[in-house]
């Protein structure tokens, strides 16, 4: 069944894309931080999982229990002591965006430098849950399946939290118009910090899970940053469902092109799809129409 053999692996690959993009949806879409050090944080989490696994034999899934709170705390501190000041300083969203690009570019180097000192430049890889499982006749790796599962669960949970809870509604209000949110009594700084920290926690989830099946080194962060940005933008900024759908779509298209057309064109297909979506819907699949 070629169709199943395209759709299922495509979903699994797409699940990984969605997973690495979820954190950025919150950090960029809600907290308005265009975080260029995103990929480095992700790789740092992967290194964390690797160290715990190779040093203490701790499974990456258990490592999540450590990695996520630590990442949230670090990201909260980063927001509280660095980014919040910039948010207050920027006159408008454009100025805030430029400042956050610049400052996180610096943070990128700090994280990357720390990883280089600790781990050097070479590649790392380990095996966990690298077990085949046959689903509808298509062989998949359990670790990649776990990543898809997490993407769906975490994505769904975040989506529900944003749409069904009071805090979520307040957070969405900030995403739409921070000034207006302030006027109706929402503590923008505190909630943005919270959203940024949560985003950081999701980055850690992504990093820990992809470390189970991707080979990584300290210099690879930018690959993840860009993939996450493409997914987030394609889905519509700040829209969790959008990120999920865009990630899965990219996965299926890449797999389909690899099987049906030419594996050499997979990345070209990704970017064609991405650019095509933006040309037809300039604010992404699920983005609000620009006024």
């Amino acid at each position: 069944m070629l169709l199943v053999d395209i759709v299922l692996p495509g979903l699994v690959l797409g699940g990984m894309y969605a997973l690495i993009a979820l954190g950025l949806t919150l950090q960029y879409g809600v907290a308005r931080i265009m975080n260029l050090s995103y990929g480095e944080s992700l790789v740092a989490a992967a290194f964390g999982a690797f160290s715990l696994y190779s040093g203490f034999g701790l499974s990456p899934l258990a490592a999540l229990l450590f990695a996520v709170p630590v990442a949230m705390a670090l990201n909260w501190l980063l927001y509280r002591f660095l980014l919040e000041r910039l948010m207050r300083r920027g006159k408008d969203r454009g100025a805030q965006e430029i400042d956050s690009i610049l400052v996180t570019f610096g943070v990128l180097f700090v994280i990357q430098g720390a990883m280089l000192v600790a781990f050097g430049g070479q590649y790392y890889s380990y095996s966990y849950l690298s077990i085949p499982v046959v689903v509808l006749g298509s062989t998949l790796a359990v670790n990649r399946l776990v990543a898809l599962l997490f993407a769906a669960l975490v994505g769904g949970a975040v989506y529900l939290a944003l749409t069904r809870t009071r805090i979520g509604t307040a957070v969405r209000a900030i995403a739409v118009d921070a000034n207006a949110a302030r006027l109706v009594g929402i503590d923008v700084a505190a909630l943005s910090g919270l959203a940024f920290a949560f985003g950081g926690g999701l980055v850690a989830v992504g990093g820990v899970l992809v470390s189970m099946f991707l080979t990584f080194n300290a210099a690879m962060g930018v690959v993840f940053t860009m993939k996450a940005l493409v997914v987030v933008i394609m889905g519509g900024v700040g829209n969790v469902m959008g990120a999920l759908v865009a990630g899965l779509l990219l996965g299926i298209v890449e797999t389909a092109v690899a099987r049906l057309v030419d594996p050499g064109l997979t990345l070209a297909a990704t970017y064609t799809l991405f650019l095509g979506v933006l040309l037809i819907k300039p604010t992404g699949l699920f983005g609000r129409a620009a006024s």
Binding site: L140, L214, N217, E254, T255, P263
Partner: protein, 406 residues
């Protein structure tokens, strides 16, 4: 008028800052009590992964080894090595600039090469103009003979792409005529100069040996999932699977092959197969896997090198370019000692013409190229033994078919 003046002022301010900063790192030339050796290597950026395994540890190990014996012998006294080290950030422009800096500012006596074909070619003209010997170890290109002709100071050590592919095809051809494998080969390659040259040469050589390419595709750098590719390759039912891939993909292909229970008689992947990481990750499953490189692991010099490398850097070397990198440095040292002074032109000429004793045995370059290079290796009982070219002494017999994945 006001604005024009302000612009001038800005320029002056900028230039003053520029000049001050430059003055801050002028170096002092010292009397010849040390041999200053400089290099710029990719500590950051996409090349950091390769440089961090193959090149940098060997530079560090060599300096340590040489200094432990008192240094390089010039005339009748030994001069210790002093290192000047930069990060080229995986950028051609930075690499060129760093060479200029090592030569003009730090006035180093010798310069070691960067990692990767691209960076070695980028710094080639500059090293040539400045007259430094250029040991372009980690560059694999079919243009190597032509480049060696163009740049008399440069030497190439890993063979050409054609050499690697032809050695592989010869080995497979022999296995076929021995009746150990059939005629079907699936080949995938990365869409980079390395993959394209190797696959182009491989295509021709395999055809010459009567093989049929049942699958032959490239994939882009940075592809995150190679399973689709592999599934089509499996569907073509090959006797041998060949992948000219980069380390992360090499790992991913091996992992996916295990998941898909893909057990061809020959499983050849790499770059990266020769890395200790590969053995570390796949343990017993690495047995029987073939890849680029290999070494004569029974040689006492290499055994000793392996132990020293482990002690000095905390990890094992890769089994392809690491030992050759180290050997090239031994060649450099012996050439300097033979010439007896820091005469770069003479040293470069000596490297090309002399015969040297190294950890990989006797080395004698021909036309600036190391002619005999291990091209195909295979993991056998936890060691990556060299298989081909079979004409080289110490070539092991291949284990075919590869054992099933466990």
């Amino acid at each position: 008028m006001y604005s024009a003046n302000r612009r001038t002022l800005l320029r002056i301010t900028g230039l003053v800052a520029f000049a001050t900063a430059l003055g801050a790192f002028a170096s002092t030339a010292d009397a010849q009590e040390k041999i200053r050796i400089g290099y710029a290597i990719s500590k950051t950026g996409p090349y950091a992964g390769g440089a961090g395994i193959t090149t940098l540890p060997n530079y560090e190990l060599w300096v340590k080894d040489v200094n432990a014996t008192g240094g390089i012998k010039l005339g009748d006294k030994k001069l210790p090595i002093e290192v000047v080290e930069y990060d080229d950030r995986s950028s051609s422009e930075e690499a060129v600039k760093a060479i200029e800096r090592l030569a003009n500012q730090d006035k180093v006596d010798f310069i070691l090469s960067p990692w990767s074909t691209g960076l070695n070619l980028a710094v080639g003209p500059t090293l040539n103009r400045l007259g430094y010997p250029h040991l372009a170890v980690t560059s694999v290109t079919d243009k190597a003979p032509e480049l060696a002709k163009r740049w008399s100071n440069a030497t190439f050590w890993l063979g050409t792409s054609a050499q690697i592919s032809e050695a592989l095809a010869d080995l497979l051809g022999k296995l076929k005529s021995d009746g150990k494998i059939g005629a079907n080969v699936a080949m995938v390659s990365i869409a980079d100069q390395f993959g394209i040259e190797l696959s182009a040469a491989g295509r021709e050589a395999l055809k010459k040996h009567g093989f049929t390419l049942t699958y032959d595709k490239t994939y882009p750098m940075g592809a995150q999932d190679l399973q689709p590719l592999l599934k089509d390759a499996i569907a073509s039912n090959p006797d041998a699977f060949i992948a000219f891939s980069y380390p992360p993909d090499t790992i991913a292909l091996t992992e996916q092959a295990q998941l898909l229970k893909f057990n061809p008689k020959i499983f050849y992947v790499g770059v990266g197969t020769a890395f200790p990481l590969y053995k570390g990750k796949f343990a017993a499953n690495s047995d029987g896997v073939m890849g680029i490189g290999g070494w004569n692991a029974d040689s006492p010099q290499l055994k000793d090198y392996l132990a020293r490398h482990k002690a000095a850097t905390g990890k094992e070397p890769d089994r392809w370019a690491s030992s050759i990198t180290y050997a090239s440095l031994q060649v450099l040292q012996q050439a300097i000692e033979k010439v007896g002074k820091v005469d770069r032109a003479a040293v470069a000429a000596e490297i090309r013409s002399g015969t040297f004793d190294t950890i990989i045995g006797k080395v004698k370059l021909k036309d600036g190229l190391l002619q005999e290079v291990w091209s195909v290796g295979q993991w056998q009982n936890g060691e990556f033994y060299a298989l081909a070219p079979t004409s080289l002494p110490g070539a092991r017999a291949p284990v075919v078919p590869k054992a099933q994945w466990q």
